[in-house]
Subunit: 422 residues, 2 copies
C-alpha cells in the first residue's frame, strides 16, 4: 500500500530549494525559497510535489489520517546536525559545576575528568549500555526537529572500542527513525598511557584502525582533532590521507583553541568540512572558501565553555559555506537542541535568521555529504520535514531559548506530533 | 473530598527550606536543602509533609491516581518569575531581524517600532484579545515549570488602557492555574505626544492613575522605569512615594542602560526589588544589600539585546539577595523560558547552579512578596511543585538550552504531565 502524507496551509513553507549540488554561500545563504500558504505531498517516504495549498489540495486523494493541517505554522526541511559525539557513556555535569566555581581545566583533569573520563566510561560500557544511553539522546534530537545526525567515534581509542562505538551507531541508524552518518575519529585524543609516544598511536590509527573500519564499512568520514597538544598538522594530514586511501572522506576539528593551520589543512587535503574554527586564520578562511570546504560552527561549545565565538560573519562574507551543529558531547557541549544553536548563531555570531536556517538544513547536509537526499524540500528527496508552531521563521530565535517543534516527519512518517514522540 | 497527592522517590527533592522570612543571601544562596530519595505529601493544595520516601510511603493512604513516582527525577519548588510584561498585544520579530542586520534602535523607532509599537497595539486591543494572547503565554510559562508570575501594566499609558491591562491580568489570575501578582507601571514610558511635557504625564500618573488603580485593588506593586530620557530619579521617587501613600509597594527598573542612581533610589524609597541593574554603581549595590532590596536580574534581556550582563557575582558577594526573571516582553526579551534564564545566569553571569535555583524560587518569591506562600517546599505552603526529568539539578544548565520540565503541580493539582498540559 502506498504510504501518503499531505501537508497544507503552512503560513511559510521553507523549501531551501536550489542548493542540492553545491552549498549555499554568501547571499544565497539568505535565500530560503519560501512559499506562503504552502503545501507538500509525500509518498512512500519521498517528496512528490511542493506547491501552494490551492494547487495540492484536492489533487491528491488522502484520508484525514494522511493529512496534516499546518495552518499558522512554519514547515521546514528536517534539521540536520553535522557534528555530534552521540555514542558515548556517562555524563560530566560535575566538571561543569567545578568550572562554574572557578576551577580550571587542569584541576578537572587532575581530578580524573576531561575527555579521558568519557573514554574510560565508554571503554567499560557494553554495546547494550552504549545503545541505551545513545538512543535516549536520539529521541531528544527528534523532539528538537532533527532528522539526520552525524555521529563520531573517538571515545574508544583502541580498535576494539572504536569498532564498538561505530557498531552501536550503525545499529542505532537501523533501528531509529533518524538517519545516522558515521565518522571514524580514532584520532580524537592520544591515550593517557601513550602521551610520550604519540607516533606509536598515530601509526596504530593509520595501520590498524582505519583499514579495519573501512573494511567493515562502518564509517563514511575520517576526522582528526588537529590542535596543539593533540595531533599536529603533519600527523593530522597523514591520518586523513590514510583514510582517503581507504575511501574515508576527510573531516577535521580545526583551530578550536589557537590558530594551528587547521583550516588551511582542510582545504589542502580536500576535507568535506572543517569544524570549530574559533581561531581560524584569514588565510585559512580564504583557502576554505576557494576549496569549497564547509565550515561547521559549534557556538554551543563556545557558550558552554565561556569562550570566544567563531567569526561566522567573516567566513560567510569570505564565501565559506557555513553550517551549524550542537557538537553534542558530554564535556564541552551537552545540549541536544539544534534550534537553540540557531539562537546562538544569531545572537552571539552575528548571523541572520535566514542564514542559521540554511546552516542547519542544506549546508549541514553538504557538510556530511547527504545533500542529494536531504536538507531541502524538493521533488524526489527524502520526505524529512519539521513543522514549527510559530507564525513565521523569525520566531525561531525571536522567542529564544525555547523549542518550537510541533511535528517531525521522517521519511514520510510522523514521528513527533504535538511536541511528543509518537 | 480531600484532594491528595503523594510524590515519592525523587533522586533529589530540593526544598529551599529556611528562607521564608528573609531572602537567601551570600552562601545561603547555595544552600538548597536537598533530600535524596525524597517524598512530599500534599492535601487540598497545601504541603502537609516533606520527608524521605521511606517515611512517607505507606503513611498516607493514596490511590494510584494520587501518587507520582519521581524516581530518577528532580523535584523542586514551582518556579517563580518575578518580572514580566505578560499582558500585551502584538509581537515585534521584525525589529529583531532589523537589529540582526545591523539597524540601530533609532532606525527601528523611526520605522514606528520600539515600545510605542506595543503601546499602540495594546491600546487598540480589546480585553478579549489581550486575554487570548496572554493566556497562551501563561500556558507556556506553565510548560516551563513556572507556577507564579508577576505581570506589569505599562503598555496602556492612559488610565483607561492601564486599567484594561490590569483587569486582564486579574481575570487571568482567576482563570488560569498560575498565580498572578500584579504591578502597576503607568510610568513605563512617556507617551509620544507628551515627550515635551513629561511633568504633565508624571502628574497624571500620580494624581489620576495611582489612586484609581489602588481604589480598584488592581495591583500590589508600583513600578517605574528610572532611566535617562524616560523618568528621572526625582520623578521616579515622587511616583513611588505616591504609590506608597495608596498602599502600592515600590519596585523599580533601575540602571539598565547607564548608572543613574536607580539602585540607590530603590534602597532609599524602600523598594521590594530593583530590577535590571546592568550598570548599578558600587554604592547602589551596597545600599541595596543594606536595605534588603532584592536584585532582580534579567540576563535574557542582555542576551537578546547583545548587551553587557549585570554583575551578579559582585552583587551576591556584596550581600544582595539576587532573583532571576525572563523579563518576558515583545521588544527586549520575548522568551518564556525561565529554565533558560538559569542557563544564562550560570554561563553569562558567573552564578552557580545552586544560586540560580535559589534565584528562581525563594528569592524570586521575596521579590514579589509571596515568600510566605511559595518558593519552597515546606509544611503549610502552597503545593506548587515542578518535577524535572533529570538525574540531578546540575543537568538544568549542564544540558543547556533545553526544557527539562516533566510535571508541574499547582496548588496540589497536576497541570503538566510528561511535558504536556493536562
Amino acid at each position: 500500500m502506498t504510504q501518503k502524507l499531505l501537508i497544507t496551509g503552512a503560513s511559510q513553507l521553507i523549501t531551501m530549494a536550489g542548493h542540492s549540488e553545491k552549498p549555499a554561500v554568501k547571499d544565497a545563504m539568505s535565500d530560503l525559497q519560501i512559499l506562503e500558504n504552502g503545501a507538500l505531498y509525500m509518498e512512500d517516504g519521498r517528496i512528490v510535489e511542493v506547491g501552494s495549498t490551492e494547487e495540492l489540495q484536492g489533487k491528491y486523494d488522502v484520508s484525514s489520517e494522511e493529512h496534516i493541517d499546518a495552518t499558522g505554522k512554519v514547515v521546514a526541511p528536517g534539521l540536520i546536525d553535522p557534528h555530534t559525539h552521540l555514542v558515548h557513556a556517562g555524563t560530566r555535569e560535575n566538571e561543569y559545576a567545578m568550572r562554574l566555581k572557578g576551577r580550571t581545566y587542569m584541576d578537572i583533569m587532575e581530578a580524573g575528568g576531561g575527555i579521558h573520563a568519557t573514554t574510560r566510561a565508554t571503554q567499560e560500557a557494553s554495546h547494550e549500555e552504549l545503545y541505551e544511553q545513545s538512543i535516549k539522546r536520539l529521541n531528544k534530537f527528534l523532539l528538537h526537529g532533527v532528522t539526520t545526525v552525524e555521529a563520531k567515534s573517538g571515545y574508544g581509542l583502541t580498535l576494539e572500542h572504536e569498532l564498538k562505538q561505530l557498531e552501536v551507531a550503525q545499529k542505532l541508524g537501523n533501528d531509529h527513525p533518524i538517519d545516522l552518518v558515521s565518522t571514524f575519529m580514532g584520532a580524537h585524543a592520544i591515550p593517557m598511557h601513550e602521551k610520550e609516544t604519540p607516533e606509536v598511536f598515530v601509526d596504530r590509527v593509520i595501520n590498524e584502525m582505519i583499514p579495519e573500519v573501512a573494511k567493515r564499512n562502518l564509517a563514511t568520514f575520517n576526522d582528526v582533532f588537529c590542535e596543539r597538544g593533540v595531533f599536529t598538522p603533519d600527523q593530522s594530514r597523514r591520518i586523513l590521507e590514510a583514510g582517503k586511501e581507504h575511501g574515508l572522506i576527510p573531516k577535521i576539528h580545526a583551530d578550536e583553541i589557537e590558530p594551528y593551520a587547521g583550516a588551511e589543512l582542510a582545504a589542502s587535503v580536500g576535507a568535506i568540512s572543517a569544524d570549530h574554527l574559533l581561531r581560524a586564520s584569514e588565510q585559512g578562511i580564504k583557502d576554505m572558501a576557494e576549496a569549497g570546504v564547509v565550515g561547521v560552527l559549534l557556538p554551543g561549545t563556545a557558550f558552554f565553555l565561556m569562550a570566544e565565538f567563531a567569526q561566522a560573519r567573516k567566513m560567510i562574507d569570505a564565501g565559506v559555506a557555513v553550517a551549524l551543529s550542537t557538537d553534542a558531547n558530554p564535556g564541552s557541549s551537552p545540549t541536544i537542541s539544534l534550534p537553540f544553536i540557531m539562537n546562538l548563531g544569531c545572537l552571539n555570531m552575528g548571523m541572520t535568521p535566514e542564514e542559521v536556517l540554511t546552516a542547519t538544513t542544506i549546508n549541514a547536509a553538504h557538510a556530511i555529504g547527504c545533500a542529494e537526499e536531504a536538507g531541502s524540500l524538493e521533488k524526489g528527496k527524502k520526505a524529512d520535514v519539521t513543522i514549527f508552531d510559530i507564525p513565521n521563521y523569525l520566531f525561531l530565535s525571536y522567542q529564544y531559548g525555547m523549542n518550537h517543534v510541533d511535528t517531525v516527519i521522517k521519511a514520510g512518517m510522523p514521528r513527533v506530533v504535538g511536541g511528543q514522540l509518537v
